[in-house]
Structures are given as C-alpha cells and as structure tokens.
Symmetry: C2
Subunit: 501 residues, 2 copies
C-alpha cells in the first residue's frame, strides 16, 4: 500500500510523493491569537497533528511550520474592518502584543493538553515584516500588484492561475460581489498585500509605501517559503479558508516565484454544534478550556479523530460522552496489557499468571505465533486505513477490533510474554505515536497505573481479605472512607472496579 491524499487542488485522491525523498515540507495555517482556542481549532490541529504523526510513523522527516497570526487579520474578509487583535486589545485595555502573547500561550497550553506535537517552527506574522515587504516589492516589480494611496493590491487579472484551487472565476466573483467594492481596487477580486495604517493604528511598520501593515494572506506565503522553500509538499488549513485565503496565497507566491507553491492542499472540514455551524462570529463556539472542565482532553482528541478530517464534526454532549466511553475501552485494554506485563516482570515467569515462554516447536509455541500474526494483521489494516487519506475513524475501528481481541485473549489466559509485548507495542505505536490517544498516563480507572491506582488496588485487596476473614465492619469502613475521599468502588462477579466520584 502507498499513502494517498485528497488534494483540493484537482479535487482527487493522489499518491503522496514528496518533492524530496524521505522529507516532507508541511505548512498549516495557525490561529489568530485574539481569544481562547475552541473546538474548531481542535478539529483542525488534531487532524493535522495526526497527519504529521503518521508521516513520521512512515519514516519521513517532517518539517512542520504552523504560523501564529498576530497582525493583519481584519474583522472583514474584504480588506475592510479592524485588526482583530487591536480591536480586542483595545477592549481589554492592553497592548496588542500583550494580548497576542497571552492567547498564544493559551493556544499552546490547549494544544499540549490535546497531545498535539509542537510544530517545528511557529513563526509569528509580526516577526516577518521585512520578508513581507520584500514580497510586496517583488510583486510590484513584476507588475502583478499596484499601489494606491499607500496600500498595495494584488492584481488578479495579471495572474492566470487565480481560481485554480477554489474553482472560482474572476468574472463570476466580480458579477457576484455583494459587498461594496473598495474604490481603490481595479477588480473586486483584487486583495490587499499591504494596507495603509489609518490614524491610531498601533500595529504598523514603515514601508516603501508609507506606514502600514501586511494583508492577512501575505504572511502565510512568506513564512511558508522562508522556512520550507518556494515549493512545499503539504499546505493544510480549514476548508473555509480555501477561498479567498489559500487562493490568494497561491496567487502571491506563484506570481512572485514562477514556481508551483504547494503540491498537496489538504483541507479539514468544520465543526457544527448540535447541527449548526460553529464559529467565533456566530457566538456558539465552545472554548477548549471550557470543554476540558467537563471532558478529558484526550477524549476530545479521540472525538475529533472519530470523524475523518474532511468530514464535518458535530459536537454534542452525548457524542463526546460516547467518545469518552470508546476511549476508556481502549485505555482499559491497554492498562490490562501493561499491568499483566508488569506483573510478569515482577514475578518472573511464575505459573500462576499463565505467562510463560513456550518451548519452541510445541503446540503452545505455534499458538503464540498465530497470535503474533494476528497483531501484524491489525497493524496492516490500521496502516491501510491511514493510507487512505488519513482515515482516522477507520483506523480507530481497527484499534477497537484489537481491543476486543486483546480482551478475549487476556480472558482466556495463557498468553505468552512475546504476545503481550507485541500487542503493547502495537497499542503504543498505533494508538500512541500515530493517533496520540494512548499515552503513558491512562484515563483514571482501575487499570490506569500510577501510584494512585496502586494505592486503590491495595485498599481493594485489603478489603477483600478483610471480608474473607469475615471482618465485614472493617471492610465496610474502607469502602465508606474511600467514598469520602472521592473514590467509588463497584463490586461485580468479575471483581471490584473503581472510579473517581
């Protein structure tokens, strides 16, 4: 199997072949840091995190650049309105850069909790003003841009490829322009490369065209090319930014360099809340910090991955609770494997745990080999799923099959150490390295590991012994005291489990 990705440019699935063997240059549009990240951000950045992780799993070195927009993103897409950062900073009575710093920190904090790997470089738009001015200069020199009253616009009529990503035609855009067209623009589809700073604008820099600031589209072209070269392998972003943002990026970059800007354009779909589109401007967004109060961050990550990145994700309390249960099932199985392995490490190959190395050539040995082949089968199916344009829901399906299989072989007993190690490794690689949902710490359950779990296990054991010795009062006391400190015991024919109350 080979990896195939759906390329928005051309609208078809293609075999993935990076420009340079073994090395992937990848850029993803990062957040505008004027508020806390919400579930929509989780959808985008968890999806592309899984892309990066899978590429690395396949052996590629991935240089992953994801920008931070701290200037130039206006409240209106048609080159009008206020700078989002400045507007919010004025409302909060702080320096725009203080605001950007605060929300940049908040963003990474949330992404860390979602177990998203840090990008290789997280460049800031304000950190690349000279390069942006440089690109505007180049476009003016090449006759693809024009200056009016201290602002510079890209002249879409001078770039043949305009519309190739979105499929939009300049004529249709002009005819359909609903908003009042900026009087400085030659064509309604022209877009600002550099905007003159009006009086009172704080985020501004001196340029050959006077004091101003870069247009929003510009930064991505500049930072992608600065760190990844003039042609990059993958450009990711939200579908809602395919037009005009990404279309404009292509126009700027290709008009300047004469080379293709991006080989594969990948777009993630949106998040809806109870069926309605979620958005900052719509006011129905749920911040991650709020979501984390109710749900484990890994459950949210898992929830995102249960939908394909190109499909919409509908957020609802019931859906995320279902996801949390699904993740718990995986964690329970992983925990059971880990603790069985730990027990054998502690006790050697003691017969009472039924974990023993079978003598080669015996019937036992053959059985273990068959089990190991089954694990290889799961890994193969997992890779097949991911090879199909990073089909994470299907990959999670394979993981769930492996969970059921693991539970059944553990229940049957007589699992060899080699099998346990193999399945443990498979969970760590597929669930951990690739999907990022299996971590060292598991969701708090009996099988969770760590000192807390060990302590509760010891209390349960003590209680069981007390009951066996007919000391019911002391056993009940333990149960009651555990309840007081926030641990609930549940007895069942299979034994006693616990959870935090």
């Amino acid at each position: 199997m080979t990896l195939e990705v759906y390329n928005t440019l051309g609208r078809r699935r293609e075999e993935f072949k990076p420009l340079e063997e073994g090395f992937v240059r990848m850029y993803v549009c990062g957040p505008t840091v004027y508020g806390h990240a919400h579930i929509g951000h989780a959808k985008s950045y968890v999806s592309f995190d899984a892309v990066v992780r899978y590429l690395r799993y396949l052996g590629y070195r991935v240089k992953y650049v994801q920008n931070i927009t701290d200037v130039g993103h206006l409240t209106d897409n048609a080159d009008a309105g206020e700078d989002k950062i400045e507007k919010r900073a004025a409302a909060e009575h702080v320096d725009p850069m203080e605001l950007a710093e605060f929300y940049t920190h908040s963003y990474f904090e949330d992404m860390d909790r979602l177990n998203c790997l840090r990008p290789s470089i997280s460049p800031r738009a304000t950190g690349h003003i000279p390069e942006q001015i440089e690109l505007v200069g180049t476009l003016l020199e090449k006759g693809c841009a024009y200056e009016v009253n201290g602002s510079v616009y890209f002249d879409v009529a001078h770039f043949k490829g305009y519309g190739k990503l979105s499929g939009k035609k300049i004529e249709d855009l002009a005819a359909g322009a609903r908003v009042e067209v900026h009087p400085d623009k030659k064509n309604p589809a022209d877009f600002a490369l550099w905007k003159k700073a009006e009086k009172g604008h704080i985020l501004r820099w001196r340029s050959p065209w006077g004091w101003g600031y870069p247009g929003w589209h510009l930064e991505c072209s500049v930072m992608a090319m600065r760190y990844l070269g003039e042609t990059i392998d993958i450009h990711g972003g939200g579908l809602e930014n395919a037009f005009p943002h990404h279309e404009c990026e292509i126009a700027q970059s290709e008009a300047a360099t004469g080379k293709p800007f991006v080989k594969y354009w990948l777009h993630n779909n949106m998040v809806t809340v109870d069926g309605v589109k979620m958005g900052k401007s719509l006011g129905n967004f749920i911040t991650l910090k709020d979501a984390f109060k109710k749900h484990h961050p890994l459950a949210i990550r898992y929830f995102v991955l249960t939908s394909h990145y190109r499909s919409p994700l509908d957020f609802s309390e019931s859906a995320i609770e279902a996801a949390e249960k699904g993740l718990r099932r995986i964690h329970n199985a992983v925990g059971a494997v880990r603790s069985t392995l730990a027990a054998t490490a502690r006790e050697g190959t003691s017969p009472d745990t039924d974990v023993a190395a079978a003598a080669p050539g015996t019937a036992d040995d053959t059985a273990q080999k068959a089990l190991i082949e089954e694990i290889d089968g799961f890994c193969g199916r997992f890779e097949e799923a991911m090879d199909e344009d990073f089909n994470t829901p299907q990959a999670i399906g394979v993981l769930s099959d492996m969970v059921r299989w693991t539970n059944s072989i553990l229940a049957e007993g007589s699992v060899g150490r080699a099998v346990l190690e193999k399945v443990n490794d498979a969970f760590n690689r597929l669930g951990g390295d690739v999907l990022g949902i299996v971590t060292k710490e598991l969701l708090g359950e009996e099988s969770a590991g760590g000192l807390e779990a060990d302590l509760v296990a010891l209390l349960i054991e003590t209680r069981t012994q007390l009951r066996a010795a007919k000391n019911f009062q002391a056993a009940d006391d333990i149960r009651a005291r555990l309840w007081e400190i926030g641990v609930e015991l549940k007895d069942s024919p299979e034994g006693t489990t616990w959870k935090r109350t």
Copy 2:
C-alpha cells in the same frame, strides 16, 4: 515602610518611585535560545519573578517584558565570532529557527516548572528587525554611528554618558584592549549596531547597508522602548551583562532619544558550582532539566530565593538538599493548616477538632485576637524584608518563624477558625503570591493533600486498626505492599509518616 531598590546606576539604594503612579515598566534580558536553561537562568529569572510578584503584591500594575534572543548573539563579545544560534543549528543539522523554537519552548517549560509567571510580552529579536534598522538609521542621522563596509558601529566618542553604568572610562578601555581591535572600528569601545552578513550566514535581512543582522545589544533597546516607552522604570539582568551589554543599551537608547533610558538598573549575581563560577562556556553548568530529575522544581526555586539576588549563589547537592528540607518544613505547616481547615469545614465546629468560634468578649476571643495580631506582625516583618531591595532570604526567615509559630499553636490546639484562615491566607499571599514557593499542590508528604495523600492516610489508618486488633500479619502486609509501590512508612511515637521512595 517604602520599597527601596539598589540601583547599579549610582550604586546606591534608592526609594522606588515609578514614573507613572501605580504602573511599573519593567524589562529583563531574556535567554539566548541555543541550549537548555541552566541553574544560572533560574537564579536570574526566579529573582526577577519575585521582584515582579512583590511589586504586584504592593498593588502596582507591572508590564513585564522579557526578550528572547534568537539572532545576533555572537560567540565572542567583541563583535566577532559566529552567531550562537546558527552555530548550534549547523551542528544539529536543523534550521536555526527550528532550533530557536525548540529551546524557546524548553525555556518556558522550565520556567513554568519553577513557577515563574510568564512575562506580559516575550518579544523575539528576529521579530523586531524593522525597528532595529530604524534605530540604527536614527543613530546614523544623529552622527552617533558610522558605517564601514556594510556594518554600522556606534561611536562611543559621540556619547558623553558612555561608562556611567559600569564606571568604565573609554580611555581605559582603549588602553586595556586585550583582543585585537576590529580594523573597522574607530575606537576599541565602539560596538556593532548592524553587522554585514558574510557569505553563508542564514539569519540575515536586507537593510539600507546591505544584507546583515543586528548587533546583540540593539534588540534590547528596541524591544524595551517599543513596548515600554523611551524611559522605563526597571531594567534587570545578570551582573555579567552590565558591561558591555547594558552600557551599550544605554548609549544607543539615550543617544537616539535624548532621554534617560532606565530609572533603576537591577543586576543579579552569578551562580557558582562548588565555589567555581558556572557558565555555559566553562562547561560546568547544570541544566534545569537535569536538576529537576533529582530535585523538586519548587525546591530549586526556594534554593535560589534563599540567597539575595545581588549575592552569588553556590550550587551544591548538599545545599539544595538542605533547601528542600527547608521547603518541606514550610509545606508541612501549610498542609497542616489546610487539612485542619478542611476538617472543620467537613465536620462543622465539632468539639473534637477544637476549632470553634469563640463568643465575643470572652477570654478565648481575646486570645484569638492576640494570635491574629501576631500573624499581622509576621506579614509586616515580611514586607520590611522585601522592601529592603527584595531581601528574599530574610523574607524566608520570617516565613520560617511563622512556620514554627504555626506548628506550636496547632500543637496546643484550640485554634479558632478565624486564626486558621488568617494564617492560611498569610502563607498563600507571602509564600504563594510573592515568593511563589507555596502552591496548591504541596511536596508529597502526609500533609500534602490530594487523593494520593488521602489514600495513603487511609491505608495507614487501616494498618493501625489491624495492629490494634492484633492482626499483625495483615498490617505488615500493607506496609510491605506499600513499599513495593513506592511508599515508605515511618513509625514514631507521634504516629506514622510516609514518603515516596
């Protein structure tokens, strides 16, 4: 009492009066991000964190800017050598900005663990190239700088105040110049504002003087003034940077603006290791990540604060272990207060905890009032210590006195809830808000709070009951199993305590 600070400029202690009432503009030289932070960084940034925290405790709004040097810091102080970031990036075969990103993240990770508050703004040198070019232009216009072969140097002969911070004289510097003076320099004390980029230099920008990069001193002047204004209240940094770095900052800034640059210059002293100066170039530095493997980050923070910021700090294993013990004593007392408070909240004013509100006017009431006054006394002495140029060792001394006092009143019993709340608040404000060594989570001890501590406490209780019931086997089993999972019990006449093994 009023706050007094030792001003390196003038070398005397002065009353602290910010330029604007209630508002403090503060800048501290941040790290050059080409390696993991070490104990020397902890000394500097924990010290200034305590400064920021105390100023906020006093009611000031503090705008705290601390830069990230990701370009221009050369391996040699005399404007020669390689860029530290580029050199290390080449060795690691990564993009310089990838390296800077990695170590910037590492730096904040370590600072977070040391419980240093994030600066209001953490500007990057590469993010402020236009402003740096602008300042160089201004200095050239004013005749305080000259261009030679694509580099621009500051002309110290044209700035009268050169040497006012360090007390050095230009003539002496010239006479004592050991290193070969750069042929382009008019005066050995002249320093680079802008350096021509030699072939192969990656971190470079276009300027009116050709491709190049800013001199290291330049960024701090530019970022301090950009975010804090032309005159700031406090500039902090390591004593080793007073000359030439800070001297050059003053020269650049004041020559350009004609205004005083900094009102109060605060310098922290160095860290020695077993008596020898610690430094990256000396190869005897201990990274914080290594130190955290052996010691709790808060113990390192506490250790730093046990020396005055202007005194050297000698790092040794025994010193830090002693510090850890000191911190544990504080945490134990805080934990005891917290759990006594929690117990009264759970049980109401049950007589067996001896926590009751005394009837007004009774002898009991008078006693409680006296205790509350004693707490006020500790707070007053703490503030006196901090008012004396942020004397943290003395402040810690006051905190230790309060610990002893707390232990004794808790041992005596019959402490009113008002007293407990007051002392709890004092620990949280002085030890928490100001010194940052008392946090929600306390060092792992019986008194630590949290589920783990509750579980161990329950096991200890169960064991005690089993022993009382002469069930020694079961009691011993609990002790042995606890040992296995990493918890050691210690029996003494006062009861059983525990620690992690």
